[in-house]
Each structure stands twice: as structure tokens, then as C-alpha cells.
């Protein structure tokens, strides 16, 4: 008779194995048949785990699923689940790294835009679940003496997300929302070029903006904890025509920033390139 710990060890080994449990050893040996093969009984749980985790991933990566179809998506999700089962009962944090998995997934090699589309969806998911933060106002910014500004950081809100890609992943994402419209077929992946995207949650919805390259690097620098001077340098390096005044007023209006702060070490802000 196994101890409970031994039994749970044996079940864990079989439930996350890539192949369904087989009759014989392990946890299956402790299961009563009663008219059904013990392995088939354990397989109910093996299936349930894969189905519900695949559903959870499909909830986050719905555009990826729409692009590749449910069968392809399932195969990818099952591979991802077998590689790294969840470690936290709060499942909203599960699915990070699916983009990297897709980048290394041999069957997805002919779809080079797929990992970045997944990165966009993960950033949207993070934004949806981020804490509420009120936006920094132009008045609060105006109250800071001009000579102090260069050393300060405009910290983006917790729900701000930044994604950049060599592929038009925002257009792809929008096209998957309306599969009947033919929008997906009309996208010329090469001619459309890349996308630099800012995400913010407004109320219950995550909104997406296609921003100029200089502005994207400016925001990414702030997200990484750089000060005003460093962010402006990063923006100008990416785009010599970067217009600081325009970027500042546009983002104050959007409510991109939460606070004006002293610079800190690099933060764990979600910035995906």
C-alpha cells in the first residue's frame, strides 16, 4: 500500500507525461478496474488536464488559434504543457513563454510572425489583469521645475504594454477578430512592414496603438527605468525625427504614465521586442 505522498508522486509522473497512462505500473497499479481498464480511468484526468489548460491558453492566444486552426493549436499547446506544467493555482500567470515555445516549434517554422503575435496577446493579457493606476496629469508634470525634469523617469502605468515586431502583428490580430471580412487575406505580410505597439487598459478593455518607432523606444526606455535624458537619446537613436513635445503631449492625453519618479535600476516591466 503506497503512502499518500508516494501515490501523489506516481500520479504526477503519469498525468503530465506526453503519452496517456498505460496499464501496469505507477499510479495505475493502485486503481480499481471495476469494469473499466484502470489506465482508462486515469486517462480521464490526463485528458481533463490537457483540455482545460489548452482552453486556458486558447483564451489568451485566441488570435494565434485563429491563424493556425484548432488542431494545430492543440498540438502546440500539448507540447507546451508537457514541457512546463503550471506551478501556480492562479492560472492567469500560466502561458508566459508560449511565444518562445512557438519560435522553437518545428511545425510553426513556416509562420515566422506567429511568435510575435503570441507576444502581443500575452502583453494584452497582462494589461487586462494589471492593477488600476491613475494617470499622471499634465498639471502634475507642469508643477515640476524644468531643470529637474531631465533626471526623472516618466513611469508607464502597470497596464501599459509595449510590443514591437518586424511583422504587422496588430493588423493580423485585428483581422482575426473578423474572420469573415477577408481582412486576413488582404494583409501583405512583407509590404505591410513591422509594428510598434503600445497597449493600455481603458476601463475593462485593452486598447492598442500603432506608435512611431522613436516614440516606442522612448516609452520602452521609461519602462526599463531610464530617465528623461536617456529616453530621449534612445528615441532619437531609433528615429532622428523623434518629436519629444509631440510624444509627451500625446501620451499625457492617453494617460500612458502613472508617475514622475526618480530613476531606479531596471524594472521588471513587460517590454517585448
Amino acid at each position: 500500500m503506497p503512502t499518500l505522498l508516494e501515490l501523489q508522486d506516481a500520479m504526477r509522473a503519469q498525468l503530465f507525461a506526453p503519452v496517456p497512462p498505460a496499464d501496469g505500473g505507477g499510479a495505475v497499479g493502485h486503481i480499481l478496474g471495476d469494469g473499466i481498464a484502470p489506465a482508462s480511468r486515469l486517462q480521464v484526468h490526463h485528458n481533463h488536464i490537457r483540455i482545460t489548460l489548452t482552453d486556458a491558453l486558447a483564451g489568451i492566444y485566441s488570435a494565434v488559434e485563429a491563424m493556425v486552426g484548432i488542431q494545430f493549436f492543440r498540438a502546440a499547446a500539448h507540447g507546451f504543457i508537457a514541457e512546463g506544467p503550471p506551478c501556480d493555482p492562479v492560472l492567469y500567470a500560466y502561458g508566459d513563454g508560449f511565444a518562445d515555445f512557438l519560435a522553437a516549434f518545428p511545425s510553426a517554422a513556416s509562420l515566422p510572425y506567429l511568435p510575435d503575435l503570441a507576444r502581443l496577446e500575452w502583453a494584452m493579457h497582462r494589461s487586462f489583469h494589471a492593477a488600476d493606476e491613475s494617470a499622471l496629469t499634465a498639471g502634475a508634470l507642469g508643477a515640476v521645475p524644468a531643470d529637474a525634469l531631465a533626471d526623472l523617469v516618466l513611469r508607464p502605468r502597470a497596464d501599459a504594454g509595449l510590443v514591437a515586431s518586424d511583422w504587422p502583428v496588430d493588423a493580423l490580430w485585428h483581422a482575426t477578430r473578423a474572420p469573415e471580412s477577408g481582412a486576413l487575406e488582404r494583409i501583405d505580410l512583407v509590404a505591410a512592414g513591422g509594428a510598434a505597439i503600445l497597449l493600455l487598459r481603458q476601463g475593462y478593455d485593452v486598447r492598442m496603438w500603432h506608435v512611431p518607432a522613436g516614440e516606442w523606444h522612448w516609452l520602452a526606455a521609461f519602462a526599463a527605468g531610464q530617465d528623461m535624458a536617456g529616453a530621449a537619446a534612445a528615441a532619437t537613436a531609433a528615429d532622428p525625427a523623434f518629436d519629444l513635445a509631440d510624444a509627451l503631449s500625446t501620451n499625457l492625453q492617453r494617460g500612458t504614465f502613472a508617475a514622475l519618479e526618480a530613476p531606479q535600476e531596471l524594472k521588471n516591466k513587460e517590454t517585448t521586442r
Partner: protein
Amino acid sequence: MQAMPQYPSGPLPDAATIPVAAGIGLRAAHFEAVTQTLPAVGWLEIHPENYLGGGAPLAYLEAARAHYPVSMHGVGLSLGSADGLDPAHLARLVTFARRIEPGLVSEHLSWSMHRGTYFNDLLPLPYTEESVAVVCRNIDQAQEAFGRRILVENASTYLQFKHSTIAEPDFMRAVAEQTGCGILLDVNNVYVSCENHGWDAAVYLETMSSAPVAEIHLAGHAENRVGERIVRIDDHGSRVAPAVWSLYERALALLGPMPTLIEWDTAMPPLEVLLAEAAAAQCHLDQALRHADAA
């Protein structure tokens, strides 16, 4: 885009108690419909794990909480884990409970976490003296942390272990006696497990009549063919089965009227369908309440 809800200040409504009435599970598919239409149900049940990420889901919950008592029904605490509860998860749940002030706190008689892996499934336990001890130790720890009594729910099971020595309802009753916890009797799960294993549902309910049952769950289940046999699967994806309604009626007669939840978690229907199920449960409850008054 919608405006964010305005939260009223002051105490939450009926914070202390879940009424003896039918309630529904609040799920993401119905966030907008519930917060906008405020349907006439007695209470809402939530899975705390869906809100611990914060953001929009938590904002919806708080908008709903301003109008309804809420029961907090965990799915990830894993009371049956031999390697103990995850202290970080327990601490998050305790903080969350302080924030939403649930009328009831419940979890399952099963395990879903082991050595840092989360299974996203309610896995069955062998019903042994060792399991009683493990579950009691974990319930004691949870009740201590929450500073209150919790309810423990019978799960649907699809397999039994050769070395089980205790019948499930006796196991539930023993755990309640030793820890002082209450029981959340899932009548659909009673039906599913009894059908799957050839147990006697009447005996199960009879045993529960001398146990501290404080809440009832109802849900739909699916029938899967495995080889020559039908295995009933607790998928919460359809209306409550007629046989489960009959069992519910018998449970109310034996146990008396009590808060009853309609659970629906997969193949989500329009809110109206869920409300119709809750109305049907409310009819049974009203009848049981009249009987209780007359007695």
C-alpha cells in the same frame, strides 16, 4: 468602452451571510450581463483564483459585490496534498477574503497541487486513515489562517483506489467531526460518483443527514463512453439532469432548506439560461421552506 464602476463606500451588503436562497456562479462570460442587469438571485459564488490577478476581473467582481453577498469557493488550495498547503497561496486567499468579505469560504475534498505542480483538476484521494489525517491537518491550517470555519465539498470521482477503506460520506463526516469544518454537498457530484462506482445515493444522503451540511451545489454533467461503460463526467456544461433534481429534492427533505448554487463553467450559456436554472432551484427551496415552516 465602458466606464469603470463606482464603488459605494461603507459596509458591503449582507457581508456576513449567504441567504437560504438560490445563487449563481459569477463567471467571466457573464461579467457584463451581471453587473449591468443585476439579476434577482440571492447571492453569487466566485473562484478566488480568477481574481487574484487583479485588473478588470477584480473590478467586475467589486462592482457585483456592491450588490450581492458573495461565497468564495476555492479550486486551488489542494486540501488533499500530502506535502501540505502552499503557504503563499493560502496567504493570498486570506488577504483576498478580507477584501471581499465572503459569506462562506469553501474548498474541495481532493488535491490539485503536488510538489509545486498545479494540475488544474480535482484529483481523487484514497479514502484511508492516513488521508483523513492529511486532510484534517490541512483544513486545520486553512481554518486557522482564515480565522473561520470553512466548508469542504465532495468532488466527482472517476476512479477508486484499491487501498481505500472508508466510504466517501463517512470520510467527509469524519473530517468534519475532527476539524469542525462544514460540508458543501454537491448533489450532482453525489449522483455522478454513485453512478460511476455503483454506490447507493440514498445511503450517501442518509449519512449526510447527520453531518454539518451548510450549502448545496447543483450542476450539469456529461456522459462519456469508455469501452463498454458510461463514465459520467462533472463538466458543469449543461442544465442540471432530471435525476439530480430528484436527488436534490430528497436532500432538501433530509437536510432542510439551505443555500443552493447553480454552477456552470464550460459551454457557457446566455445568462438567462443560468437564471432559469437558479429559479428552478429556488422553487424547490421555497417548497422546502414551506414544509419547514409547517413542521
